[in-house]
């Protein structure tokens, strides 16, 4: 096996993400919208906002990762590309992982990079910690996208499968959300939390591709 099919899958997914114009920016808008509306909803008390900010951002990140997931495998199943990938001579799990990674790069990583700005809107102190948090959000969003990818693969042949993706993916998001929020809370147990967050992401990256591969084979069946 060579890496060529994986690179092609990766490249195609990136191309697709940018082809729709600002399609890849939709989750970003969603995240920004959530971050703007929450202070309006819970009041502008600086201490409250500072306390809930990181947690709200985790929730918003988890939910915005779901926005564009629906299309990553559904489009392939509809236009016949999925059949070609299944015959590309590379493990389907690796193809699925390459596609998910490309999707994360175009739609997930920008969310993490955007997070310091939103944290400032939640009255966070401007400090290097915000940049550390970018890393944590990036790590967490990777897990979100891989689990979300499982939901997307399972609902690849379902019209309007968005709800299904949410139902499948949200329970799988729980560990990442818990460890991610814990890592930023500064409370007891927060020192080890980044490692647990990394572990949950690694677990997602290791397991999700196989689940996606099985689901995609079923979708083509």
């Amino acid at each position: 096996m060579t890496a060529a099919p994986l690179l092609s899958a990766f490249r195609q997914s990136l191309g697709e993400a940018w082809a729709g114009g600002a399609g890849a920016l939709l989750p970003l808008g969603f995240l920004g919208g959530a971050a703007v509306l929450v202070p309006l909803g819970i009041g502008s008390d600086a201490d409250t906002l500072r306390a809930v900010g990181p947690g709200i951002l985790w929730v918003a990140l988890a939910l915005s990762s779901l926005v564009t997931l629906e299309r990553i495998f559904q489009a392939d199943a509809e236009d016949g590309t999925l059949d070609l990938w299944l015959q590309a001579g590379a493990p389907v799990s690796a193809i699925a992982a390459a596609k998910t990674l490309a999707h994360w790069l175009s739609a997930g990583l920008p969310l993490a990079l955007f997070s310091p700005l939103l944290a400032l809107m939640f009255q966070a102190e401007a400090s290097p910690a915000l940049l550390v948090n970018v890393g944590l959000y990036a790590l967490g969003s990777l897990a979100f996208f891989f689990w979300g990818g499982v939901g997307a693969a399972l609902s690849a042949t379902v019209r309007r499968g968005g709800l299904l993706i949410s139902l499948i993916a949200l329970p799988l998001y729980v560990p990442t959300a818990i460890f991610g929020a814990l890592a930023m809370s500064g409370g007891p147990g927060s020192t080890g939390a980044p490692l647990l967050l990394a572990a949950s992401t690694l677990f997602a990256c290791a397991v999700a591709p196989y689940a996606m591969a099985a689901a995609l084979r079923l979708a083509a069946d």
Binding site: L7, G15, D79, G80, D83, L84, L86, A88
Partner: protein, 193 residues
């Protein structure tokens, strides 16, 4: 060479159930180098399903498929993304499959030189089919599984398909094609579902 003796593709006792209906049962076929099997049957008799089973995309309810050689699958859906042009599409798949095919030559061959850089959403159905057919030329795979290869093609395009098939068989390739009406090439066998 004894390539004549070795079957490239064998299916034994293939059966398929869709919903509550038996689509087909006990289908057996053997495909050897140079052969062209034409699959016939009315709409809904399972031609596409059988081809997908042979391609390994669908799992049969009963029976088994033995593939001795890699195969190209050419289905109803072209596998073209709306923003892809024939050139970017073929370049992508040539890269994915490894060998350095001459994309320009393939485009010219398929009559796609003019719309080579037009996004797929602006291509006609026939041009999309030609682009999908062009993938067959990117990598040399001995077995072609073609689901209605003439669909949407003009007379010129149908003649092109016949030429491709003839040359493929001359090189020792084989194919199974689901075709309605007359096949433009001498079939070595018929299978009616």
């Amino acid at each position: 060479m004894n390539s004549e003796a070795v079957p490239l593709l064998t299916g034994t006792g293939l059966g398929m159930i869709r919903g509550e209906r038996v689509l087909f049962r006990e289908i057996g076929l053997t495909l050897r180098a140079g052969e062209a099997l034409v699959l016939r049957g009315a709409n809904g008799t399972g031609k596409t399903t059988l081809l997908r089973i042979l391609a390994g995309l669908t799992r049969p309810e009963t029976g088994r498929v033995t593939r001795a050689a890699p195969c190209h699958w050419f289905g109803h859906r072209e596998g073209l993304k709306p923003q892809e042009t024939p050139r970017t599409h073929l370049t992508l798949w040539a890269r994915a499959w490894g060998p350095g095919a001459d994309i320009d030559a393939v485009l010219t061959r398929m009559g796609l030189a003019r719309p080579a850089d037009v996004a797929a959403r602006y291509l006609s159905a026939g041009q999309r089919r030609r682009t999908a057919l062009a993938r067959l030329l990117l990598e040399d795979r001995p077995v072609w599984l073609l689901d209605e290869p003439y669909t949407a093609l003009d007379a010129d395009g149908r003649a092109l398909v016949d030429t491709l098939i003839t040359q493929h068989r001359a090189k020792g390739g084989a194919l199974i094609a689901a075709i309605h009406g007359e096949a433009g090439f001498p079939a070595s066998g018929d299978l009616t579902l």
